[in-house]
Structures are given as C-alpha cells and as structure tokens.
C-alpha cells in the first residue's frame, strides 16, 4: 500500500481553480425558461384567492400558476422516516393550495423567458390571505389553547428509548445535575444556492439539481410525481457544498418536473440567498433537558434526557429522524448503569428543520459535554479527570454501551494525552489560576470536549428497526478498460469531499495501477444507476469500502486469466505491484496485460466472460465511531463580553486515513461550523413568524478574520467493522467543537457565578449573562 495514506493533491481541483465548473445554474438548454416563486409573507394564513392572470400578461411571461393549478398532480413532499406509531405526517403540497404555514412557502410561480422578467411578473399576481395565528414557541405549541399548525394538532410524534433501571440510578444519588440547553435554529448556508433544471422530450425526463442525493431523489420524485422511475434521470453536476441542506426532496424539484411537463420546454430555477435562507431546511432547534446522576467521586450512575424538537411546519425527508440520531449518543464515551431518552416532535409555523452537519449528534454531544463540565464543577474535579473516571478504557473495546451500540474500537486515553500535550493544558490552567487570582478583567477559559459519534450511515437492518424508509448500503463498479486504465462508478455523490481523489488512491493500491490511470464517475443516475448518496459521514466508510470490494473481485477475475495464460494454478500466483507472478519463478503478467487479453478474448479460460469488471455493494455491519479530544482556550473580557479564541487543539481518531490532506480539511471545516454555532449563528424569527436573518448580513457566518488557526492532529485506532479500517470524518469537527467552545466560555466566567451562556455566545449575550448574575440591570 503506497497511495492510501498519502497526501495526494486533489484531482477535482483543476476544474475548480480555473472556473471550468458545471454548477446547475450554469446549464443553458435550448428554449429554456426561468421560474420564479411567489412566497407567503405570512407565517400562517388561509389562501382566499389567487389570480395569476395579470402576471401572464406581463412581458416575457409564458405561464403563471398557483398551487390550485397543480393540486391534482403535485402530490405531497415526502417524509421517508415515520419514526413512531403516533407520527403525524401532514399533507405537504409543493405549492400551497389552501393554507400557508411558514413565511417563504411557495404559493404561485411565474415562468418567463429570462430570470429578471420572471421575478418582475411576481408583483402582478393577485393574492388574498386570511391571516391565522402563528405559533413559534414549542412549549406554547403543546398547550391545549395553542393555534393548530395542522388539524391533528401540534404534536408530531413522541419517541422513547431506555436501558437499565433509571429510577434506581437517580434514587438516593449523591449528586444530581439537571440542566436545560437551547439548541438554536441554524441555517446550513452552503455557498452554492439551490438550483434545478428540468427537461423532457415528452416521455423521458432529465432533472439537474444541486443535490447531495441524486439516487434517493430519483426514487422519491418518481413516487411523488408519478413519472415512472425508468423515465427519470437525475444528475447532480458540480455541487457547491451541502452540509445536509441538499439532502432533501424539495418543492422546487417536484415543480420543475411538473412545469417542464406542462409547458414542454426546459425550465430552470435558481434561488437567491434571501429566498434560500427562508426556504432551505433549517438545522438543530431543540430544547434539551438533561439530568445526570452521579456518585460523589464523579462516577456516572445514569442520564435522563427529555427533548422538544422543533419540526417547523411540515415533516420533510428525514425531519423527525434527526433527534433520533442523537438518541443513542447522549451517553457519549462514558459508562453508566442506566439511560432514558424521550423526545417530542413539535409543529410550529416556521421553516421545517432537517439534516444539518452532524444531524442529532451535535445536539447530543453538546448537552452531554456541557453537563459533564457542570458535574465536574459540582464534584470539584478537573473536567478531564471527571471524563477519565467515566470513559470506556481502550482495553474494554469492543464495548456495548448503555444505548445498545457496540463501539468497535477507540482509544480515548491516547487522543486526550496527545491533545493535552499539544495544548499545553497544565500551563494554561496555571495562567487561568493566575488571572483569577489577579481578578483580571480578561479571564481565560478552557473548554474540554471528549466526543464520539455514530456515523457511516448505516447498517440497513438498524435503519429498518428505526422505521427509516431505505437501506444504508453503498454500491461501486470497477472496470478495467482494454488499455489498462480503470473506470470507477460510485453511488456516493460528492459535493466537495474529494471522492475522486480518495477513490483513486484506494483503487491504485488495490489493483496496482497508477493513481493517474483511475477515473471516477458519480452523480448521474444514468451513469451510476445504484447508490445511496452522501450524508452522515458515510462516503468512505461505506462507499469507499464498496470500491475496495469491487477491486477485490476484479483482481480475482484477473487472477483466473493470469493463471490460464501462465499455465499455473491460481493459488500459486502472487499479486504485487500490479502483476501476478508464479511463486518461485520470474514468469508474470501485469494487470494491464490481462485487461487487454480479456478484451481480445482470444485465449480465456473456458466460460470466462470477456469483461474485467465487477460490482460490489457494501452494507456495513455496524456504524463507524470516530472519536477525539478537543481543547479550546478562550479569553473573555468580563467588562465588554468580547471573547477571543486563543488556541484550539483537535486530536481526532478517524481510524485509518486514506488522504491526510482531505481529513484535515474536513476537520477544519467542521470546526468552523461548530464554532459558528457556539459564537455567531442563529436563525431568528420575530413574534409574527417573519425570518429576520434572511441575508448573510444578518446571519453571521464566520469569516477568516473571525476564526483562529487550528492545531489538528490524529491518533489512529483502526475500525474493525470494515476492511479499510476507516471511520467517518465529515461531521466530527462540528460535533466536537460547539461544546468545547461554550465550555471554555463558561469556564472563564464560572468564578463570576455563571453556569451557562445561551448560544450563540455573542458579546452581548455574555455581557447580559454577567450583568444578570451580578444583579445589575441588563
């Protein structure tokens, strides 16, 4: 193995650094029309009347429609995760017909010859609403007198899970810490706005979309629109980031197909950022009550969790499943006797929530790692010492947790040891003590986060047991061409992760071919017919393994041919550096020679089909459990509330590493998003349900100037659940970093009597929190 593990520069970059890209919005088709949507300005209203006639008379307008015009064919946007028996999945028309339930919901559209004319004509649509009361707060939504978002009420589902005797764990517990945390609503903010192009020849349809999930989208669109699956091709061209936000079946995708069918011309829709902030599904938005029972020495007895999860106005593709992905993670890396989890999904008149980087696990890890720091303060232990007393020791793996997951491997001691060394933990603690002693107005806080997470979604049987609508396998095809070059088709669908480079490295090692001789195809259901796409840090741990397994099959086929040509027994051949050799002799054939021989088919073993290719589908037996220790040092000015990250150390264990450059990049980006939740970002609605953070001027994504340089390192404990030994890395940084940062801020302020600061911990929030505990007017 020489390629796997090396910091190969990416094959993807050549196009991206020269502008030879193919974003969906770049696509121009002959006769193409542009779509613009009229969206509800009200959080909750009945649609009394819509007249699109005046819009149709505007210049350049080809057609204009309201929801009523598509009521018979638009179906309902799908929810593929009916989590419980009691789940309520309301009808969700792509364009509202009778009622709107969040600001931004589409009510009508214009189709015109250019994007400006389409946008202009929206103003000519006449629409009359009868306003209904908005309901924004989850607790209020669950009261008997609350306005109903849907006829069936505001409770979307309840879901419980537990193990061990939780009452016994809490009965007579020497220490109980009970906290409530707010997971604020976030806007995923991929840099490429959503865009979709649909075309039809009257029978077959092609849909281009900025999506993470071309394969899932094809199935769901076929089921939603009635277009037969075999007449629908979905293409994800270059996709500019996703972070979960493009793991969706959207109204605009469904309607693009219906408009193309109705008008017989290709249509394109590209959202503006302001439109996207309102209507790309949001993330997080949970209210978390977490109680922990412990011994006086800090050893955990049990944890109880009670969640309210804001669904928004509808259940979208996996909306209700997001909190469940956290349900198995509130115990983290720790041992305990009992665990109890309950969750209520709540409808409100806001944009639906759904997957956002980490999806459930960041929320769980945040509450757990925050409460561990509170417990450490309560029992008078250093936060790292408390964790040491509770974590699973490296010799205890594989370990079945109280949440019934079996962690295959890990070494929390090693990652923590490395992190504390890089961080200079003891020295920073000494500086902190000194500043506390001096009553320095600028206090130093140290935040700890020792996390694990379940990713590499997912064993199909487990998904089935959780009522998810599909499996968790991934598919790959590997084919050797006559000239010895290799084509790989992957069902995984990248949007920045570097699959082409990483898969080339895996194939180069497995088949002994040059890295440059491998090309990787993806993201087009006509090219890559089978796949489960990209999310949940699954690409390498599931899709990469499928690639390896397909290579192994190709190699075994080649071995048969080599044996035949060399007149040897297959068992007597050894394979190294791309050649089969007969043990003990110099005679050999390169795999490229075999590829040509198979193509010629002049002299093959009896019954051998002349094709040197193979398919493989990998269904993982277990999740993947990356882990690590993150340490954050923050200076907080107690007079102004201003905070500054002084250093951030992340030591992650993602098992074997295929490309350290890509892994480091994933960690960097993950850290930025987790830190963004801690310090900067929040989707804010006003009391009437208007989104206030519709632009990037209002929704504060961090810039380069807002973030520090990160110190990253790794320990390497191979996964035992897949032959590559790899674990997922895409979400780990986001999961770990949010609690590390907030723990640091609270640690800085704890001598002032502060036990929590609500996220995002802006200077104003910090200042108000301090003013509150000082009893001053805030």
């Amino acid at each position: 193995m020489t390629e796997v593990g090396s910091a190969r520069r990416r094959k993807e970059d050549a196009r991206l650094i020269t502008g030879r890209t193919q974003w969906t919005d770049n696509i121009q088709l002959p006769g193409m029309l542009y779509v613009a949507y009229l969206r509800s300005p009200m959080a909750h209203a009945r649609i009394v009347r819509v007249d699109t006639g005046p819009a149709r008379r505007e210049p350049g307008v080809v057609a204009a429609f309201s929801g009523r015009d598509f009521a018979q064919e638009q179906g309902s946007l799908p929810c593929a995760w009916p989590v419980s028996e009691d789940v309520v999945i309301p009808d969700h028309p792509p364009m509202a017909v009778h009622e709107v339930r969040y600001v931004g919901e589409a009510v009508a559209c214009v189709v015109a010859t250019d994007r400006y004319k389409a946008a202009d004509a929206l103003a000519a649509i006449e629409i009359e609403y009868e306003e209904l009361p908005a309901v924004l707060d989850m607790a209020e939504a669950l009261t008997d007198t609350a306005p109903k978002v849907h006829e069936a009420g505001n409770r979307a589902f309840t879901w419980r899970f537990g193990n061990g005797d939780i009452d016994a764990a809490f009965r007579d517990a020497p220490v109980v810490v009970d906290r409530t945390y707010v997971q604020q609503r976030l806007i995923p903010s991929a840099m490429e706005p959503r865009a979709v192009v649909a075309a039809t020849d009257g029978d077959a349809f092609t849909l281009y979309s900025a999506t993470q999930i071309p394969h899932i989208l094809r199935v769901m669109l076929a089921l939603t629109t009635g277009i037969p699956e075999h007449r629908l091709r979905v293409i994800a061209p270059d996709v500019g980031g996703g972070f979960g936000s493009k793991l969706q079946v959207t109204a605009e995708e469904v309607l693009a197909l219906l408009l193309a069918r109705r008008l017989g011309r290709p249509v394109k829709w590209t959202e503006s950022r302001s439109e996207g902030n309102m209507t790309v599904h949001h993330g997080r938005d949970q209210l978390q009550r977490i109680s922990v029972a412990a011994e006086r020495d800090g050893r955990l007895r049990g944890i109880k969790v009670d969640l309210l999860a804001d669904m928004g106005a509808y259940l979208m593709l996996v909306t209700p499943g997001i909190p469940l992905l956290g349900a198995f993670m509130y115990n983290g890396i720790y041992k305990m006797d009992a665990y109890d989890f309950g969750c209520t999904g709540v409808f409100t008149t806001k944009m639906p929530t759904d997957a956002y980087r980490g999806a459930g696990r960041p929320e769980a890890t945040y509450a757990l790692e925050r409460v561990m720091d509170e417990l450490a303060a309560e029992v008078g232990l250093d936060p790292l010492e408390l964790r040491r007393r509770n974590w699973i020791r490296h010799e205890e793996f594989p370990y079945t947790t109280i949440a019934n997951l079996t962690y295959d491997s890990g070494n929390y001691e090693a990652a923590t040891e490395r992190a504390t060394t890089l961080f200079g933990y003891d020295k920073l603690r000494a500086e902190q003590a000194d500043r506390r002693e001096r009553r320095d107005p600028v206090q130093l806080g140290i935040g700890v986060s020792t996390y694990t997470e379940m990713c590499g979604l997912a064993p199909s049987r487990v998904l089935g047991s959780l009522s998810y609508g599909a499996g968790g396998w991934e598919h790959a095809s590997v084919r050797m061409l006559p000239t010895g070059k290799v084509e790989v088709v992957t069902g995984s669908s990248p949007h920045g992760q570097g699959h082409v480079t990483a898969w080339s490295q895996i194939v180069a090692d497995a088949l002994g071919v040059p890295f440059e001789d491998v090309s990787v195809m993806h993201g087009d259901t006509a090219v890559s017919p089978r796949g489960m796409d990209t999310y949940g840090s699954r690409s390498l741990a599931v899709g990469g393994v499928a690639v390896l397994q397909a290579c192994d099959k190709v190699k075994e086929k080649a071995r048969q041919v080599a044996a035949h040509l060399l007149e040897a027994s297959p068992e007597d051949l050894e394979f190294a550096e791309g050649s089969f050799r007969v043990r003990g002799t110099g005679a050999g054939r390169s795999i490229q020679e075999i590829a040509l021989a198979v193509f010629a088919a002049h002299d093959l073993p009896d019954g051998f089909e002349p094709a040197l290719d193979a398919d493989a589908t990998f269904d993982p037996e277990n999740f993947s459990y990356p882990h690590g220790t993150h340490l954050c040092a923050i200076e907080v000015d107690t007079e102004t509330g201003q905070s500054r990250i002084r250093s951030y150390v992340a030591v992650d264990d993602v098992g074997k590493v295929v490309n350290p450059l890509i892994v480091e990049g994933q960690v960097h980006g993950g850290l930025a998003q987790g830190i963004a939740q801690a310090l900067f970002e929040e989707a804010v609605y006003d009391a009437d349900g208007n989104l206030l953070t519709t632009t990037m001027a209002d929704y504060l994504m961090p810039t380069a100037a807002d973030l520090p340089d990160f110190v990253t390192d790794r320990t390497e404990t191979p996964a035992t659940s897949n032959p590559l030994g790899v674990k997922g890395v895409g979400e780990a940084g986001t999961i770990a970093s949010t609690p590390a940062v907030v723990n640091a801020i609270v640690d800085a302020l704890r001598p002032h009597g502060v036990h929590d600061v609500r996220m995002p911990c802006t200077p104003e929030r910090i200042w108000r929190t301090l003013a509150g505990v000082r009893g001053g007017a805030a």
Binding site: G240, G665, M696, A704
Partner: protein, 161 residues
C-alpha cells in the same frame, strides 16, 4: 437599451443591455463566462469577485453599464499561456478548496490583496479576505495558500508546507 463595450478575459464584447443588468449576469447568462458564480444577493459572500480595471469588485454589485469601457478579468482568464497563476497552484497545493464554489472569488480577492501587500502576515490575509465567505475549509488552508502564492509571485523561496 444602452450599448456597452467590455473586455472580458482578453476578448472584447459589444452588448446591448438593460440598464439594470448586473455585471455578473452579463458574464454568466449573456457571455457564457460561468466560471464566476453567485453566492448571495447582498454582496456579503464575495463568490462573484472579479478584477475590474485591475481592482477587485463584487460583480453582483456592479451594473453591466458601469463596466462600459472596462477590462474585466475573471478566474477563467487568470491562467496565462496554459500555465496556472501561482495563486491557483497554491490553492491546489494547500488544499484550500473543497466544494470550490467560493474559490474563484477567493482567488480574485487574494490577487487584489497581494497587490497592496505582497507579503502579508497571517492576520493581514485573514482581515483582507473578510469580504469572502467559505463554508467548507475553515479558512486555515486558504490563508496558507494566499501566503504561499504571495511567495511564489514575488519569486521568493517557497517554504515547505
């Protein structure tokens, strides 16, 4: 409709445009120069940054008519004679892009930054790129790439990364 003359990546175009047409839409929809993407509608993200007569400009906040008589350089015109610009090479070498959507704007903004400060500190790069958002990289490698590109452009020894 106003008639404008604009040079884009070395090619001169004469176009009749609506007065309200944005430069970025002229580039993308009319001239087919789709290498410059659009990331927002409030000039915050910087994805659409181009060089307008030698200074960086967010092409979503410039009207096409304002570019009349101007020379526009986009990411597509940056490589010369088939050779990548040192900043492009540096972005590749330092893994300073993932999805790549912000990259054209980031590189053009960095080009302008380096005109003013050919040897910027880490802090100067971070401050200088404040008008360009990236959601993938956490910026560490972008900062490294800009400093590496700066070294290459000034012919100084490139330190091992």
């Amino acid at each position: 409709m106003p008639r404008i003359t604009v040079t884009v990546d070395g090619v001169t175009y004469e176009e009749e445009v609506e007065p309200r047409l944005l430069l970025v839409h002229l580039l993308r929809d009319r001239l087919g120069r789709t290498g410059t993407p659009i990331g927002c509608d409030t000039t915050n993200c910087g994805a659409c940054t181009v060089m307008l007569d030698g200074r960086s400009a967010k092409s979503c906040s410039v009207l096409a008519v304002q570019a009349d008589g101007c020379d526009v350089l986009t990411i597509e015109g940056l490589a010369a004679d088939g050779r990548l610009h040192p900043l492009q090479t540096a972005f590749h070498e330092e893994h300073a892009l993932q999805c790549g959507y912000c990259t054209p704007g980031m590189i053009m903004a960095a080009l302008d930054l380096l005109k003013e400060d050919p040897d910027p500190s880490e802090e100067a790069v971070r401050e200088g790129l404040e008008g360009n958002l990236c959601r993938c990289t956490g910026y560490c490698n972008i900062v490294r790439a800009v400093r590496r590109g700066a070294q290459a452009m000034s012919g100084r020894e490139v330190s091992a990364s």
